[in-house]
Each structure stands twice: as structure tokens, then as C-alpha cells.
């Protein structure tokens, strides 16, 4: 899995490309946690446009980052989810917990100036 990273103030944007399973989940976990710890990142936006596969290990890592950010007053946002990936996420109940956006612009917009 490839990760493209963009940091703007306290927001980390990650564009994911590839398969999100138990193997690649640890890469994603490390990429997010290290930025939270190093730079005090409080908003994480995950762009899933390039994700071809996700299973419960991948979903677990996403939920885990949400749980990590919550007590820090942070937020996790998900954008650009391909339909077949959304189906799996829906079955897991994740969209009831985490905010989904059509694109990065909408994810950046929400909460800005609040």
C-alpha cells in the first residue's frame, strides 16, 4: 500500500493506494500515530479513493485511530470511498461512528472556523 501524506497546520491528509489488510494496516497505524505524537496532529483525513480492498483488520485500524483522536479532541474524516469498499464499511457499522465526505474539500471545509 502506498501513502501520500500532506500536512497543513494540525491536519494530516493521507491518500491511500492499494489493499488495506492486516499487513498494510500496521503501516497505516504507524503513519498516523507518529504524526499525532510528533506534530500534535488533531485532524486526520483519509482519502480512500485508491483503496482496492479492505477487511476487518483495515477497518480496525481506522476505528483505532478514531478512538485515539477522540480523547485528544481530534477528528478522523474519511473521503472518496469507492462503492465496493463502502459496502464493507457499512456492514461494519463504521459510517455510524465516523464522518464520511464526498471529497477532500468537503472534509477540510467542515469544522473550519468553528
Amino acid at each position: 500500500m502506498n501513502l501520500e501524506k500532506k500536512i497543513e497546520r494540525l491536519t494530516l491528509l493521507l491518500r491511500l493506494d492499494g489493499e488495506l489488510d492486516m499487513h498494510t494496516a500496521s503501516t497505516l497505524r504507524h503513519a498516523i500515530d507518529s504524526e499525532i505524537e510528533k506534530r500534535g496532529i488533531r485532524t486526520v483525513i483519509l482519502n480512500l479513493q485508491g483503496v482496492q480492498f479492505v477487511d476487518s483488520s483495515g477497518l480496525g485500524v481506522i476505528l483505532g485511530r478514531y478512538k485515539k483522536l477522540l480523547p485528544l479532541g481530534g477528528k478522523l474524516k474519511i473521503t472518496n470511498v469507492p462503492p465496493h469498499i463502502y459496502k464493507i464499511m457499512e456492514l461494519s457499522g463504521l459510517p455510524k461512528i465516523i464522518s464520511f465526505y464526498v471529497d477532500e474539500a468537503h472534509a477540510y471545509e467542515e469544522g473550519r472556523g468553528a
Binding site: 492486516m22 499487513h23 480496525g60 485500524v61
Partner: protein, 145 residues
């Protein structure tokens, strides 16, 4: 009666989960399955193999995971076997949101159950776990040449 059997044995390392998916996707492509069905098979296999590595073998890498596929008539049978620690309470382990690890969602068996027509789990402590999943499909899959 036409049938096909395929077996893959591999080390219990995370890198091999994608290999198992590749095999089921390729076999699924030969059957009369929709792309959506193939996606679901990939998730089911991914969950079963991940469970074998994470729970069965407790992430210890030098163990073997067995993946056996059988296609007979219009039935695909997938068997994922490990010789790991086993599950003490299979019924409890299969409950949604049951997980021994807070980073995990406890959805592995839920996905297997949702995406397959049949799911059977046999486990014995210190002996291992056998997950058998079945999926029916429409037409005769194997070409006759």
C-alpha cells in the same frame, strides 16, 4: 461430475494474506460469479487467514496455514486450517464485536458469515482451528477441453 481441487500452504506471515486473496480471486474468476461475489470471497478468505495468523498462531511467523479449495458441481468449498492454539469458546468468538484485541473490530466471523452460504468452525485447544466456508454458484465452472 467435474471437480477441481487446489491447495496452498504458506507461512503464517501477514504478507501471505494477499497471496491467499489472489488465489481465491483467480479461482472465483473461473466460476460464474459476479465481481461483487469475488470481492466478498476475498474478504471471507482474508478474514479466515488473518484469524489463523493472528489468533491461531498468535502472530508467530514460522507456522503453516493451509488453504484448500474444492469446486465440485456448483459448490465452492474453502477450508482454512491452522495448527495453532485453538479457540476455547467458538460460539463466543463468533459473536459480532467479540475481539480479544481493542484495535480489532471482532467482525471477522461476521464477514465470513455474511458473504458465504455456509460457515463451520471446528476448533480444539492446542490443536488448531478449521474454518470451512461454502458458496453455491450457478453454472458448471470447469471448461471441458
Amino acid at each position: 461430475m467435474k471437480s477441481n481441487q487446489i491447495s496452498l500452504t504458506f507461512s503464517s506471515i501477514p504478507e501471505n494474506v494477499s497471496l491467499a486473496r489472489l488465489l481465491i480471486a483467480s479461482v472465483g474468476g473461473q466460476l460464474d460469479l459476479s465481481l461483487n461475489d469475488i470481492e466478498e470471497l476475498k474478504v471471507a478468505v482474508s478474514e479466515a487467514v488473518s484469524n489463523a495468523i493472528i489468533h491461531g498462531y498468535q502472530n508467530v511467523p514460522n507456522n503453516i496455514v493451509y488453504l484448500d479449495l474444492d469446486i465440485t458441481n456448483n459448490l465452492l468449498t474453502i477450508v482454512v486450517k491452522d495448527e495453532g492454539c485453538g479457540i476455547s469458546n467458538v460460539e463466543q468468538a463468533m459473536q459480532p464485536a467479540y475481539s480479544t484485541d481493542p484495535e480489532r473490530m471482532g467482525l471477522g466471523f461476521v464477514f465470513m458469515q455474511s458473504f458465504m452460504d455456509e460457515l463451520q468452525v471446528k476448533s480444539a485447544l492446542e490443536e488448531g482451528t478449521i474454518v470451512t466456508m461454502k458458496k453455491h454458484f450457478k453454472q458448471t465452472p470447469i471448461s471441458s477441453h
